[in-house]
Amino acid sequence: MKKIWELLTGKTEKKRRESLSNTTLLMTITVCTFFGMYLIAMLIWQGGFLNPQQFLDLFNNNAYLLIIACGLTMVMISGGIDISGGGITALVTMVCVVYLEDHGGTVLGSMLIALGIGLAFGLIHGILVAYFEIQPFIVTLAGMFLARGMITIVSIAPRTASQEAFLKLKHARVTLPGIGYYGKSGNFIPAQIEPGVIAAIAIVIIVAVILKWTRFGRNLYAIGGNSHSALTLGINVKRTKFFAYLFAGLLSGIGGYVYLLHTGAGDAANAAQAEMQAIASNIIGGTLLTGGVGNVIGTLFGMLSLKTITNIVIASGLTKPYYQSITTGLMLCFFILLQSLILAVRERGRIKLFPGWMRFRKTGKM
């Protein structure tokens, strides 16, 4: 066990306990797993995995998921849950398309609408969870139902955006200098990313800064760790929770617009189960549902790991869709067990868990 300890916490430092916090350790594991997985994939399957465009496509296809997951990270660190992300995303796509097509709206207007929808949902969730003290699962579940139901009230048939100004933005690509691959005829094709990816990366950085260096961010960790002691320390628990949900709603709105930029269509089936994928990304990235532990960089790599495993499954020839969700389940299972074991090892009282499974532990959270 000691060797694992030293590997996990760094040999040079003598103060083992203080060398890495839970948050950093879980994040490091995720980052290492992702790079390890990708390197192995590069060595074994080569082909697509050596192509930088395929790596960037992970971002291109899942920028919206990353944005939703960032909002969810904040909520989960504060000890809550938000499962309305996918619903809000789908609602934003539909409303924006209808606005652009039927009402001759401008691109800027549709962006404002996306932000407005996100803010409205976040506001309602925040008020209900923080000030009415209703369980966040129920509130955001109702939010999801409301969003999914409202899509069909707006328009039953799926719609596609065809406005020129919007299409211009949709087809805009950012070319990365120096990175690219050689096509079949030997010509050099530079790698491209979509504008949504830039937004997503910017949001990851902003959220990371908020969590690390602002009072609001530190308050989130405090109330997630123990809301009673946070209250006695003079932190406004209700207001902090309210802003966490407000932020999550806003980011879901932005995620919806990024989704629209990627697909250009409004459909009730858009972003199906995105909320569960966002939760899975967070869990793999080391954010605990109990709150107080988590990091948005971990979420980023959690999302990348989740999508890379799908690519690997496809590359290894198991193309039937059910293999993908079974491997996703297995991967989740692996990470959940790993985290549970590591956290148990790190808390002195829990080491006894291993020899006698049924033994009741003396310390730690209930």
């Binding site: 209900l128 009415f132 369980q135 109702a142 409202m150 899975a280 039937k320 996703t328 049924m358």
Partner: protein, 356 residues
């Protein structure tokens, strides 16, 4: 009598019963004949009961059965199992695959049901071990099977949606010849009575609540929390298998993608509306069952108001938020304070009258 009313007002059943009453009154105002029950002859030539009330009870039976298991899990594990619908799809697939390999007779149906129960209990125990032994929050632990469950069902079915048809199965999913009440309602009632008898006569219910309220205290008092949690998951597995099999019998085929789709959300709502705290502790089985009926009544009402089926969710959400808001401690406190203020004023006026 007054004491009884006061006791009732304090119980967990007040809010669900009041909301159900409100729904009934709303429907009666909208359409007086909404709850009328008539006897019709169905296409098999049997005289059966029909009407909105029957369809509410019939349609809610699957949700109600699963919500019984969910209530126990919620109570002792302080979290919810979100994989129930996926497990029901697995159980239904096993049920169908056993039925299709034999000629359908009553013993074969029982055998198939036992098999599907075993499989779903096994999967449920997997969840249970993660939750009880590895101390993972239930929602995260069950997320694994939530994402993989329907794919496992797909794998059992071999990618097809096999059908089963037999008069025996039709009588389980529909009506037994000679009895005008739909069979799912009967199964549901028998199961509820059985489970509540077990909880009343044994310490199971009490122990479950103790584990949910304070795990450490439970352990100090000689209750094994791990065993209690596993028991809750086993019972939930049986409930899920039963709901899955009933639904398969009703529709006559197994479709792993759509069988009981989104039911886990409805079930959790039913538990929450029924007055069981989602944070564990005291539970009320009857409350959860009434919660299931409220949700189904709401759905049937919305359909009767000609709301398109995809938009039903939006209206449901609004009503659910209203119900949960009334149930929330903040609003309750506000009303209690308001009541006391009014009551005190009355007392004061009485005193002043006496004094004069």
């Amino acid at each position: 009598m007054g004491n009884g009313i006061r006791k009732f007002m304090k119980s967990q059943l007040v809010i669900p019963l009041l909301s159900l009453l409100l729904l009934v009154i709303f429907n009666l105002i909208r359409d007086v004949g909404f709850f009328s029950i008539s006897i019709t002859t169905n296409n098999q030539g049997h005289r059966v009961l029909s009407g909105n009330l029957i369809s509410i009870f019939n349609g809610a039976s699957a949700i109600a059965i699963i919500s019984i298991g969910m209530t126990l899990i919620t109570s002792c594990c302080k979290g919810q199992d979100i994989s129930v619908a996926a497990l029901a799809a697995i159980a239904g697939s096993v049920f169908v695959s056993v039925l299709r390999s034999h000629e359908i007779t009553i013993p074969v149906i029982i055998l198939a049901f036992i098999f599907s129960c075993l499989v779903s209990v096994l999967f449920s125990l997997f969840n249970g071990v993660l939750v009880a032994v590895f101390k993972i929050q239930p929602m995260i632990a069950t997320l694994i099977l939530f994402s993989a469950g329907r794919s496992i069902a797909y794998w059992i079915n071999g990618g097809a949606t096999p059908t089963v048809s037999s008069p025996l199965l039709a009588s389980i999913g529909g009506f037994i010849p000679g009895i005008p009440i739909p069979t799912p309602i009967i199964i549901m009632v028998i199961f509820l009575v059985l489970i509540s008898l077990v909880l009343k006569l044994t310490n199971l219910g009490l122990y479950t609540q103790v584990v949910g309220i304070n795990e450490r205290t439970a352990h100090l008092n000689g209750i094994n929390p791990v065993l209690m949690k596993l028991t809750a998951f086993i019972i939930s597995g049986v409930c899920v298998a039963m709901a899955g099999c009933i639904t398969v019998c009703r529709i006559g085929l197994i479709n792993h993608e759509t069988l009981l789709l989104d039911t886990e959300m409805d079930v959790i709502l039913a538990v929450a509306i029924g007055g069981t705290s989602l944070g564990g502790g005291r539970f009320s089985l009857f409350g959860s069952v009434i919660g299931a009926y409220i949700i189904q009544a709401l759905t049937v009402t919305l359909y009767a108001m000609k709301v398109p089926s995809a938009a039903v969710k939006a209206y449901k959400a609004v009503v659910i938020i209203l119900i949960v808001m009334i149930n929330s401690p903040v609003v309750k406190d506000f009303f209690i304070k308001l009541y006391r203020k009014l009551f005190k004023k009355q007392v004061e006026t009485k005193i002043s009258i006496k004094a004069s």
